[in-house]
């Protein structure tokens, strides 16, 4: 009764989990960071914006490094997938990279701009860059899920350069924007105080409602994109799994709303928003596994030779826990509420 026929637990599967882990960590870490960038648009006061930006200034760079690991790891462990997916998603990826440039430099430039127009321009770059990067990430995910056209014999992408643009991919794009804003708002509930915290609290719950609606829409839409997904979720006993995941999403969402409004917790809303994202990610994994290019190329077809996988795994097993350790330490050093007077002057 295994989910996947002919499954065997090997290095390739380990690598699929390592890459998936890197992408998940990226999504939740840069997710709140990008979401915070979009929420910038709603906070007009300079002091509030300073506090928001300072809450992520020491860590944004580490957050984005997980994106590099996702890309670099994919090239190392699944070079064929890297070579098929990136040309297929050419436009959303390049736009995302350009958007990340604008928001990344805004962290530094905004404090160097004299004020007035140039500061406003970097604030706009931060907002626009965050929004476009989020949208493109969602579009890329949607475009991958809906499938890409490949020439298997030539080991090459065979579609056009606008194939990624569909109602589905756009829907996922908007969903990711809203979800990231939820992460950003709950992060700020945790990291700020006073009026700003109160506004974030009132923003978080409508964002949560819309996020859950999007999760529902995309979950119901996905099985109809490709037959494999349908069988995976609705075939036989699998329907029970689908129902279970759906209920879990609703339960977490309910806890999050109670935590936000009734208990008025500071840390729990963020933790629960992270749980919601993690659950969606696991669901996504269930849909895709064992394909890395749904539903054309499996992880085993795309895998690098065993020696390549071993070479990198030695380092990954040793270094990723260390990285998680000092990343956690950096968050610990800058824990607690943001001091409105600290940071750049």
């Amino acid at each position: 009764m295994s989910l996947v026929e002919g499954f065997s637990f090997d290095l390739t599967v380990i690598w699929a989990f390592v890459i998936a882990f890197a992408v998940l960590v990226y999504v939740i870490l840069d997710g709140f960071d990008l979401g915070l960038g979009m929420l910038f648009a709603l906070e007009r006061k300079r002091g509030d914006r300073d506090v928001m930006m300072n809450s992520v200034a020491p860590v944004w760079d580490g957050n984005e490094t997980w994106l590099v690991l996702g890309g670099g790891g994919l090239m190392a462990a699944f070079p064929l997938a890297y070579a098929l997916i990136l040309p297929a998603l050419y436009m959303p990826i390049i736009l995302m990279l350009l958007a990340l440039i604008f928001r990344g430099v805004a962290f530094e430039f905004r404090w160097r701009a004299g004020g007035g127009v140039s500061r406003g321009a970097w604030d706009a770059a931060f907002i626009g860059g965050s929004a476009l990067a989020s949208l493109c990430q969602g579009i890329a995910l949607g475009a991958l899920l809906q499938g890409i056209e490949i020439d298997k014999a030539a080991r090459s992408y065979a579609g056009g350069w606008w194939d990624w643009l569909t109602p589905f991919s756009l829907t996922v794009g908007v969903a990711v924007m809203v979800g990231y804003m939820l992460l950003g708002a709950t992060w700020l509930v945790m990291k700020t105080s006073g009026e700003l915290q109160e506004r974030m609290r009132t923003r978080a719950w409508p964002l949560g409602v819309v996020t859950v609606v999007f999760i529902g829409v995309i979950s119901l839409w996905t099985p109809f994109l490709q037959e494999g997904y349908y069988a995976r979720w609705f075939g036989g006993w699998h329907i029970g799994l689908a129902a279970g995941v759906g209920l879990a999403v609703l339960a977490i969402a309910a806890l999050m709303f109670r935590s936000l409004t009734i208990h008025r917790h500071e840390y729990w809303p963020f933790a629960l928003a992270l749980a919601l994202f993690t659950l969606c990610f696991v669901g996504l994994g269930v849909s895709m596994f064992p394909y890395v290019v749904p539903t054309e190329i499996t992880i085993w077809e795309a895998a690098a030779p065993k020696l390549s996988q071993q070479f990198l795994l030695v380092g990954a097993v040793f270094l990723i826990p260390i990285i998680l350790g000092y990343t956690a330490y950096a968050y610990w050093v800058f824990r607690g509420k943001v001091d409105p007077d600290s940071g750049y002057h």
Binding site: A57, P58, D61, G62, E64, T65, L67, V68, L69, G71, G72, G73, M75, A76, P79, Y82, A83, I85, L86, P87, Y90, M91, I93, I94, L97, L100, I101, F102, G104, V105, F107, E108, F109, R112, A113, R155, S156, Y157, W161, A304, P305, L307, S308, F311, L312, G315, A316, L319, I320, I323, Y326, T327, Y329, A330, V333, F334, S342, G343, Y344, H345
Partner: protein, 482 residues
């Protein structure tokens, strides 16, 4: 109208543009990270105020340059797939691992400790703050180690076999892959270049403030003097080392990529009994001749073979289809070498001025150092152009042609993104450069505000806002013992 060739050419231009722009930042920050670690160490050790002032001065510039390096670097990690997908599929099993090691051992280390280095001095205490500075400095070195290893493998591939069915390069021995024949030379040459780049930028900024103070009749601040002195020591010590390393690298290239050296030297023809060193000439690929050549007989054989009469083969021994474009390589190489010797000249000049006791009172030396401020950046780019264009027409030397490496993209897609990259890079990084220059326009000294202007700490501008000029500097100098 636009065929597949144009898409490849556009992809090459795009990669050349994004990588060149990107590399300017690490070329500067690799050296600057070490400089900051040294400054912080000297401050903790000697408690001389000027080192802390210099640390605070340069760390702000570092933060800006590093941020630009990060965002332009993320682009690079995806350009391999978006524009060079066939290359990635084929070479990924070999170079993907070392590239991922760069992320794991370097990028995370830098990113994880940068926040503490920039904002954490008061939160973690001086010991851990120093450790964070060292972590960032080592991170930049590990980064260079892995990416130079990958790049060197593309020049001198080793430790692999080629899969007959897929055409993929499959690793046989990763030790040989990582420590491929040109790697040690290229790594030393590149890291040393980064140190020189930083030294000349630091020296140029110091020279600017020495000149400015001289014109206004004030003595330069101790911090400015220290900065100039340290930069000039670097120039005098590192420039000759770099010339020596460059020579070793060239001899290594002659062994593994002779066609590149022929292009660098402008040797279209073989020279059976001693080849001349051409100082000048106009390479003419049509006639396969170096027009208006001006050369020193037999010197090239002496440099490359350490024998005046050693024979050197020319491009006439290489099939046309395997030759790199000579003009670009020939000139880029000459620019790099000329700047290297100019750096040595500044170093020697500074030594002489120092010996005469006029290091801080030598306006012509300061003017020259100011003019040479960007020389490292230019030399580094020229060096990369030499080696990368010299590898053409291959991506993996001798084995995978550039024309067969590109992604199956339409030329308009590549062209559109190329334009976007050019416009955005010049706008965004132009603004960043402007902010850096503006920071450099202020002299370092007492009252140097910290990145994190907390309310406690030994130095604070608050409460003595009127004393930003010379007074506290003099007291700082007195405390530091002159």
């Amino acid at each position: 109208m636009l065929g597949s060739f144009d898409a490849v050419l556009l992809a090459r231009i795009q990669f050349a543009f994004t990588i060149s722009f990107h590399f300017l930042f690490p070329a500067f920050t690799i050296g600057l990270a070490s400089y900051l670690a040294v400054l912080n160490g000297l401050w903790l050790w000697t408690q001389k105020r000027r080192y802390l002032e210099l640390f605070r001065y340069w760390v702000k510039i570092f933060a800006l340059a590093f941020a630009m390096g990060v965002v332009s670097g993320i682009v690079m990690s995806y350009q391999f797939g978006t524009n060079w997908s066939v290359f990635s599929d084929k070479a990924g099993p070999v170079i993907g691992g070392p590239m991922a090691y760069e992320v794991l051992s370097a990028f995370f280390l830098e990113a994880g400790f940068l926040g503490i280095m920039l904002f954490g001095r008061d939160k973690v205490g001086p010991g851990l703050h120093m450790a964070a500075c060292l972590a960032v400095a080592f991170g930049t070195f590990f980064s260079a180690f892995w990416i130079i290893s990958v790049n060197s493998w593309m020049h001198t591939p080793a430790g692999f076999e080629i899969d007959a069915a897929t055409g993929q390069f499959l690793p046989l021995d990763f030790w040989q892959v990582v420590f491929n024949p040109s790697f040690p030379y290229r790594l030393m040459h590149t890291v040393t270049a980064a140190y020189l780049t930083t030294a000349f930028i630091v020296g140029g900024v110091a020279a600017w403030h020495l000149l400015k103070r001289r014109r206004s009749g004030y003595a330069a601040t101790p911090a400015t003097r220290t900065m100039f002195s340290m930069a000039m020591w670097m120039a005098v010590i590192v420039a000759p080392v770099q010339i020596f390393l460059g020579d070793l690298h060239g001899i290594n290239t002659l062994e593994h990529q002779p066609a590149k050296v022929m292009a660098m030297e402008g040797h279209y023809e073989s020279h059976p009994d001693g080849a001349p060193l051409y100082l000048f000439g106009i390479p003419n690929d049509e006639t396969q001749r170096l027009d208006y050549a001006l050369g020193i007989p037999k010197l090239s054989s002496l440099i490359l073979k350490h024998d005046l009469n050693a024979p050197l083969a020319g491009l006439d021994t290489i099939p046309d289809a395997d030759q790199p474009p000579v003009g670009i390589v020939f000139w880029a190489f000459r620019i790099m070498v000329a700047l290297g010797f100019a750096m040595l000249g500044i170093g020697v000049w500074s030594l002489w001025a120092r010996w005469r006791g006029r290091l801080y009172d030598a306006p012509w030396l300061h003017r020259a150092a100011l003019a040479m401020a960007p020389s490292g950046l230019i030399a580094v780019l020229a060096g990369w152009v030499t080696t990368e264009v010299g590898r053409q027409p291959f991506t993996v030397y001798g084995l995978l042609r550039t024309a067969n490496s590109a992604a199956p993209l339409d030329a308009p897609a590549v062209g559109a993104t190329l334009v976007a990259f050019i416009v955005i890079y010049f706008t965004v990084f132009g603004a960043g450069t402007y902010y850096i220059l503006r920071l450099m326009g202020h002299a370092p000294g007492a009252g140097e505000p910290r990145l994190k202007d907390a309310s406690e700490g030994p130095v604070r501008a608050a409460g003595k806002t009127a004393a930003h000029g010379d007074k506290p500097e003099r007291s700082g100098a007195a405390k530091a013992g002159g």
